[in-house]
């Protein structure tokens, strides 16, 4: 089998930001058990900046490491900046992923987008209300 990079293994063994944010501003869940990976990403937003992010993941080493990496990448970023994070960004930040892991197990960027969409929908809603 293709091996994981050291960085992947480091994040897999010591994942950052595992957990939930009870009053999250956005939650993104992607994947399903049939394909082997489910990722749930929570974000907390303040003044257009992601101030906290947490995840829960069911999946392989790559799924866990990419989840961890995404939370690390987004914390402190604006929503706009966060939206530029792609699967490729995450894989690159981890020093690469084995080819067969590039798609299925590299869902964290997708989860992030879903979480941001949810946040936008909510806050957009709020803004509408505020108007």
């Amino acid at each position: 089998m293709e091996k994981y990079t050291e960085k992947v293994m480091e994040h897999f063994q010591n994942p950052r930001n595992v957990g939930e944010i009870p009053d999250a501003d956005g939650v993104g869940t992607v994947g399903n058990p049939a394909c082997g990976d489910i990722m749930k990403l929570f974000i907390k937003v303040k003044d257009g900046k992601i101030v906290d992010a947490k995840f829960k993941t069911f999946g392989c080493g790559a799924a866990i490491a990419t989840s961890s990496m995404v939370t690390e990448l987004v914390i402190g970023k604006t929503i706009e900046e966060a939206l530029t994070i792609s699967k490729a960004t995450v894989a690159e930040a981890l020093g690469g992923l084995p080819p067969q892991k590039m798609h299925c197990s590299n869902l964290a960027a997708d989860a992030l987008k879903v979480a941001i969409d949810e946040y936008k929908a909510k806050s957009g809603g709020k803004k509408e209300e505020e108007k």
Binding site: Q13, P15, T29, P33, A34, G36, T57, G59, G61
Partner: protein, 395 residues
């Protein structure tokens, strides 16, 4: 140094020192071609002849019914494709099961592309095939039935003797993939009533690069590898003499040691299963509780995924495998567990510990000690476990 615990014997086994010793002279000195007319071929030819006798003795066959190949996969391809091509005038229907190794399944798929029709008989929740289902699948144009003797994943031992009765009654040729049983438990081609059998040395402390196929006298088969006259014209290519000699030795050792091996492994297996199930909640044994390979421990740990468990186990020095999608290139959960009706999320959490000669009670205790915290750690990370806890299922 960290403890190293190998529990992946179903994948491949170490080579016994006696086997290595039997091989090395044919690597270093006796390099001749067994087909030679001159004397450089004498000892290599004798080595191949003697190995053939030993393989035959292990499975109760005649020496002229044994043909050497390069892998279990090649033996399976030869059986399916060779019988299909030789008997296609009689019919183009083949029966196999849903829990075969890919060597059989993908050969069957290739035959479908050549115009053959294949029926895949199902299994029950233990992975058992019902001989009556085989009977009702047999048609007038059925030319071959191929059923695995024991699944390499869940270890369920199939009722081959009963299936063979059904198949014989219908006058159909019967192949069994005995990769996991030959050399591991007692296997006799006549007691089982099979016409063809695949077996591979690297599954029972013999070398890689050599396997065999038993073809009952009188069975017509089209060669799979065409060329020279080796293996009585049925399998061409210069013989892999050292590996063949090693396979002979492995068969000889297996023949005398199987009873002891079975007893020891069965004890270890049952202790291990009990240990894991008692220490870890939401864990389920896959396969049959008793009709299973002596070394096979296949358990699903709900809410978490196999590869991540394997990675942590590996960090602790333990080698095992899993039926999870992430550990397969196809990125699908084990087709065997799926055929048994195991739901995907539970199939994803399966671990296969396959025990063998090198394992001790200490190994079992070690894994029973390190696995629970791994499972706990991953469950804490798992959104499925969280949901189940909320729903009052997890604790």
């Amino acid at each position: 140094m960290k403890r190293k615990v190998y529990m992946d014997y179903a994948s491949t086994t170490p080579v016994r020192p006696e086997v290595a010793e039997a091989m090395i002279p044919y690597i270093k000195e006796e390099f001749g071609n067994p087909q030679s007319l001159h004397s450089f071929g004498d000892k290599p030819k004798q080595a191949v002849d003697e190995a053939r006798v030993k393989v035959a003795e292990l499975i109760g066959a005649l020496q002229e019914e044994i043909y050497f190949t390069s892998s279990g996969t090649e033996s399976d391809n030869f059986a399916l494709k060779g019988i299909a091509l030789a008997h296609q005038k009689k019919g183009k229907h083949i029966i196999t099961s849903e829990i075969e190794h890919h060597a059989v399944l993908h050969s069957a798929k290739s035959l479908e592309k050549l115009g053959f029709e294949v029926t895949y008989v199902p299994v029950d929740k233990f992975g058992l095939i019902d001989p009556q289902q085989v009977r009702s699948a047999i048609r007038k144009d059925t030319i071959l039935v191929s059923i695995v003797h024991a699944s390499n994943e869940v270890g369920t031992i199939e009722p081959i003797e009963e299936i063979s009765k059904v198949v014989k009654e219908a006058g159909v040729i019967f192949h069994t993939d005995a990769l996991q049983t030959a050399g591991t438990i007692p296997v006799s081609v006549n007691a089982l009533g099979v016409d063809l059998m695949s077996l591979a040395a690297h599954q029972f402390y013999g070398p890689k690069g050599v396997a065999a196929i038993y073809i009952r006298k009188g069975i017509r088969i089209t060669p799979f590898i065409d060329g020279g006259v080796q293996e009585n014209g049925r399998r061409a290519g210069t013989e892999n003499v050292p590996a063949i000699a090693g396979m002979g030795k492995a068969c000889e050792l297996a023949k005398s040691e199987i009873p002891g091996r079975v007893e020891a492994l069965t004890k270890l297996r049952d202790k291990f299963i009990q240990g894991l199930l008692s220490k870890i909640e939401h864990a389920y044994l896959n396969g049959h509780p008793t009709k299973r390979l002596p070394g096979n421990v296949n358990i699903s740990f709900e809410y978490i995924e196999g590869e991540s468990m394997l990675l942590f186990l590996n960090i602790e020095g333990v080698a095992a495998s899993s039926g999870s999608a992430c550990t397969s290139r196809a990125l699908k959960a084990s087709h065997v567990l799926t055929a048994m009706g195991v739901p995907p999320e539970i199939a994803q959490g399966s671990l296969l510990f396959s025990l063998g000669a090198g394992n001790s009670v200490e190994d079992i205790d070690y894994v029973c000690q390190i696995l629970p915290p791994i499972v706990e750690r991953l469950r804490k990370m798992s959104p499925l476990y969280e949901e189940a806890s909320k729903a009052g299922k997890g604790k």
